[in-house]
């Protein structure tokens, strides 16, 4: 499963992109975030306030209760500020 990070989430995690194999029992985005936070201080800092985090599953905006089974690409980022 490919995980992408953008903006200050990327800076705090320290990488832009990584391939991970999360435990098969992780059901949704919330569970994935919990597992990611256990991987180090950068992740802990990035996901400290989940209200500031947005997620896209396979390049489509998603909610935190979206299932992650079968997803190929999950991205985490702050609220967008283009335009």
């Amino acid at each position: 499963m490919k995980i992408l990070y953008f903006s200050w989430v990327r800076q705090k995690v320290g990488v832009a992109e990584e391939d991970i194999t999360p435990p098969p029992d992780l059901r949704d985005v919330t569970a994935l975030i919990g597992w990611l936070k256990s991987r180090g201080e950068g992740y802990e800092a990035a996901f400290e306030n989940p209200k500031l985090i947005r997620v896209a599953v396979d390049q489509t905006h998603a909610e935190f209760d979206a299932p992650i089974a079968g997803a190929q690409e999950i991205a985490f980022f702050p609220p967008v500020t283009g335009g």
Binding site: S7, A56, V80, G82, G83
Partner: protein, 152 residues
């Protein structure tokens, strides 16, 4: 049509490209967003636009399709720049063409409100106090939500 590009755009040429040879268009609205030298009281020397390649294009296409579903449009265009920009530079261009002005105006406003809250771009401003990621505005969320109510 949608495009994501580093280079600048030529508004006159883009309008001509959409309308040339057509006689069924009565109204063209364009919106251009530019880099300002001040935002929220902080001065801006330059700006860097990060985006999510792949999702950006898909999301812009979804937003454009939604506008065509809601209004009668003859043509439309969204162009968004990425990379490093300076005050006065163009950031984004939206063009809507319709038989009537109401559709062109409403669709252009909708495209901008949705783009502002859904298209995966992030601005980083550099100024005398260092760099900072631009924070999303609550007023942009409110503007986008108004369209949800109308469709309900």
């Amino acid at each position: 049509m949608i495009r994501v590009q580093a280079q600048d755009f030529d508004i006159g040429a883009e309008i001509a490209g959409l309308t040339k040879g057509r006689t069924d268009i009565g109204a063209v609205v364009t919106f251009t967003g530019l880099v300002r030298d001040m935002t929220g009281g902080a001065s801006v020397a330059s700006m860097e636009l990060e985006h999510y390649p792949g999702m950006t294009e898909r999301e812009l296409e979804r937003i454009e399709q939604e506008a065509h579903r809601r209004w009668s449009l003859q043509a439309s265009l969204i162009v968004h720049r990425i990379g490093k920009l300076s005050p006065g530079d163009n950031i984004v261009l939206v063009i809507t063409a319709s038989a009537h002005r109401e559709d062109a105006f409403e669709a252009a406003k909708f495209l901008m409100d949705y783009l502002k809250t859904r298209a995966p771009f992030w601005k980083r401003e550099a100024g005398p106090e260092g760099d900072r990621w631009v924070e999303a505005r609550a007023s942009d969320d409110d503007a986008a939500k108004r369209w949800d109510k109308k469709s309900g």
